[in-house]
């Protein structure tokens, strides 16, 4: 039976800053989140409020999952010509940003096709299914300011929470992650 207390904790090998008693899994996730937000170009970070609820305040307005309680089907169909869901899309290496209307697409596969057409980067559909093995990885910034991999949540939820898109080169992504892991290992050694 492991003895609780400082003794064992100090010798435990973890990724992350020492002194934080978090599990390995969640630390990794935080790492991933940090990685993408660090590379956020314009450097504007939104405040995250840790309330018990889903109420996350952004700079402009409180937007909450599933509120107002209009069912997703109705929301989709009540979009008249005036209300569109344009989000900026940037691609690494491309000089100009583009804009894409999320409301025009009914799911991830359509989005993938549209992105491919915009930037001429093929294999976007595959990237959504198998992000480990593709050259370009689509990520998006959600309402909390975190950068997330496209494709995990249901389409409606994604549409609601996506603020902008970015097509990242896989090689860049791994390079940055590797760098962070190295930095932390160095910090660990120096403790």
């Amino acid at each position: 039976m492991a003895r609780k207390g400082l003794g064992f904790e100090i010798t435990e090998l973890r990724l992350g800053l020492p002194g934080e008693p978090k599990s390995l899994v969640s630390t990794n996730k935080n790492e991933k989140k940090r990685m993408f937000s660090e590379i956020d170009d314009n450097g504007e970070k939104e405040k995250k409020s840790n309330t018990g609820g889903n109420l996350k305040t952004t700079e402009s307005k409180a937007q909450v999952v599933g509120w107002p309680p209009v069912c997703s089907y109705r929301k989709k169909n009540s979009m008249n010509e005036a209300t569109k869901m344009y989000v900026k899309v940037s691609m690494d290496g491309a000089p100009f940003l583009r804009k894409i209307d999320l409301g025009m697409h009914k799911g991830y596969s359509e989005l993938a096709l549209a992105l491919e057409k915009l930037f001429g980067c093929y294999g976007m559909g595959e990237a959504l299914k198998d992000p480990e093995n593709c050259e370009h990885v689509p990520i998006y910034e959600d309402k909390e300011g975190d950068w997330m991999l496209v494709g995990d949540v249901p389409w409606e939820m994604f549409m609601e929470s996506c603020k902008r898109l970015r097509i990242m080169k896989r090689s860049d992504a791994w390079q940055i992650e590797k760098t962070y892991i190295e930095i932390d290992e160095i910090k660990e050694k120096n403790v």
Partner: protein, 589 residues
């Protein structure tokens, strides 16, 4: 068995008079079944089944329809064992908040294993009505092959299927009368599913495919409508043009319910006249919906058909106040009206003026996430409707702000509300004139509307609202709460005070374990409880599960969340025990 004993006793007693014999035992079973078989109401049948064993048996043998409000409350095996002769099944699956993306995908409520059991036990099944269930193409194909007498399928807010499934139904259900697909998440493969109805097929009475976004094969549709002389309900999708609509109406002037296609197309004068003629030919039209995109100049073609309309569903038609006013002049018989808030208060004044028989009003937001100076409807529109429509008993009202005084006036004008659903879209919004909480508004509702069955509250609300609800809402069955309350006391008031409460759904409120556990005795008399993003912990849920073994206490776990918190809790009574098909993110405690 009491009845049998009575019979024996009476036979032995010489003084017993045939006319004085009490109890059901003087009727043969067939007669009893026949009599009880005439009962239609579920509640009556439920009461009858509790009288004695003979009545219980007569009821179960004579029952043809069954309604299951929570598909996990009972298993298909238990159902088929109790009711051997069912022809029509209605099943509801996911918790209602799944409509708002609060339930992850693949949560469950899959119809398939029900169908497998039904194929064996109810081979004569005729009707299936599903709400918030997962239905795959494979299930639809299975259904089409397994039930030769199958007549009616209605799918509302379901997901998991595509037009391939519809094609299978069309091809194989020879006796189909109803195909009603409403508000589902469907993969529209843009194939010709409509052509799968055989040439010999003529029995269709209800066809609703309004949610499909792709074109359908119009030729096939027109032929189908022409040969189905009993067609009463036809709800088209956006792809159908005005010209096509006119041709369909020409073929089916007997229609009672019509959902139009898009109401915008360049029409010649000739076409306009023909369309107007088609509408005036529809003498039986009582329900109108659709429109989608509207060219207002063409709305007058509807006027000849408006006089008999009782239900107008323009919730997908963003009209402005002038257009709706001009239309409503012709709609004196309207009982139910669904509109978009683009009609604004002025449009609601027209409703109050022209629709005195109105019983139900639903106002949906055109732009739920609009920022800044977004328009819509307000307290004055609400009051205007209540002044003109004294029979109003159902309201669903989305607005950006409200006042306590306005709501009090509304319920004073219309004290017979049975369903009062007010959604102030900004969470925690106070009375915009007084800056006070909206407690008194809902206090007025529950005090005045003694028949209230369903209530949805919003705005800035303290525990006082819940005290009022617990004290006055004695007929309340369904309560929806979001971003409200100050402490556990609020939820406790409701659980202790509302004897008829069946469904309680709560999100983002400061209710914790004490509140959850105060309902220990109550939950078995309810259909379900939903609590998300409140202050309930896993330990609280475990305690509930331990104390009440006949409840299923389920927690939906999200990745990376705090292990001790129970972010999404779903509690429901069940005779089927814990779910056998729960996905990994649903923990049954």
């Amino acid at each position: 068995m009491e009845c049998c004993n009575k019979r024996r006793m009476m036979k032995e007693s010489p003084e017993s008079n045939f006319m004085n014999r009490r109890g059901s035992s003087c009727f043969p079973d067939e007669v009893l079944e026949r009599v009880i078989g005439m009962l239609k109401s579920r509640k009556d049948r439920s009461s009858v089944s509790l009288v004695c064993k003979e009545w219980y048996n007569a009821e179960r043998w004579s029952r043809r329809n069954v309604f299951i409000g929570n598909c996990y409350s009972v298993s298909p095996e238990i159902l088929t064992r109790r009711f051997p002769n069912i022809r029509s099944v209605t099943l509801k699956g996911k918790p209602r908040f799944s409509d708002f993306n609060l339930v992850p995908a693949n949560w469950g409520a899959d119809i398939h294993f029900w169908l497998v059991v039904f194929a064996e036990k109810y081979p004569f099944l005729e009707e299936l009505r599903l709400k918030r269930m997962t239905v795959t193409d494979e299930s639809l194909k299975f259904l089409a092959r397994s039930f030769p007498n199958f007549k009616a399928i209605s799918l509302q807010n379901c997901d998991g299927f595509s037009t391939d499934g519809l094609a299978a139904i069309a091809a194989d259900c020879k006796n189909l009368t109803e195909l009603d697909i409403q508000e589902n998440v469907i993969d529209d493969k843009n194939d010709n599913w409509l052509t799968c109805f055989p040439e010999s097929f003529t029995s269709l009475e209800v066809l609703n495919f309004s949610i499909l976004h792709n074109d359908v094969n119009f030729d096939a549709l027109e032929k189908l409508v022409t040969r189905c002389k009993s067609l009463k309900t036809l709800k088209l999708n956006k792809s159908i043009t005005l010209e096509q609509l006119q041709r369909l109406l020409f073929r089916a002037p007997q229609l009672c319910e019509l959902g139009t296609g898009s109401f915008s197309q360049e029409l010649t004068t000739q076409q306009y006249t023909e369309l107007e003629g088609a509408f005036s030919n529809c003498k039986n039209l009582n329900t109108l919906s659709g429109l989608w995109v509207v060219t207002p100049q063409y709305l007058p073609v509807l006027y000849p058909a408006c006089a008999n309309l009782t239900f107008l569903n323009f919730s997908y038609a963003p009209l402005d106040s002038d257009d709706i006013a001009k239309l409503l002049v012709h709609c004196a018989n309207i009982r139910r009206l669904w509109v978009v808030d683009t009609i604004e208060d002025k449009g609601l004044e027209a409703v109050g003026t022209h629709c005195p028989l109105l019983e139900e009003l639903r106002v949906f937001p055109a732009d739920p996430f609009a920022e800044g100076d977004a328009r819509g409807v307000t307290d004055s529109g609400f009051i205007a409707v209540s002044q003109g429509c004294r029979n109003l008993h159902y309201v669903l009202y989305f607005c950006r702000h409200m006042t306590n005084a306005a709501v009090a006036t509304v319920v004073q004008n219309c004290p017979d509300f049975t369903h009062f659903r007010l959604c102030i879209m900004n969470p925690g919004q106070p009375d915009y004139r007084t800056s006070e909480p909206m407690d008194e508004a809902f206090g007025a509702v529950v005090k005045t509307c003694s028949k209230l069955q369903r209530l949805a509250i919003s705005g800035l609300l303290t525990d006082l609202t819940f005290e009022y609800i617990g004290k006055y809402a004695k007929n309340l069955e369904t309560l929806s709460v979001a971003f409200a309350g100050s402490s556990d006391w609020g939820m406790q008031c409701v659980l202790e005070g509302c004897p008829k409460l069946r469904k309680l759904e709560i999100r983002d409120c400061p209710f914790g374990n004490a509140a959850l556990l105060s309902g220990l005795e109550k939950y078995e008399s309810m259909r379900s409880l939903w609590m998300s993003d409140c202050k309930v912990t896993m330990n609280g849920c475990r305690l509930l599960a331990k104390e009440m073994p006949r409840l299923n206490v389920e927690v939906i776990k999200e990745d990376g969340s705090d292990d001790s918190q129970a972010e999404r809790v779903y509690v429901y009574r069940s005779v089927a025990g814990p779910r056998r098909d729960a996905p990994p993110f649903v923990l049954t405690l």
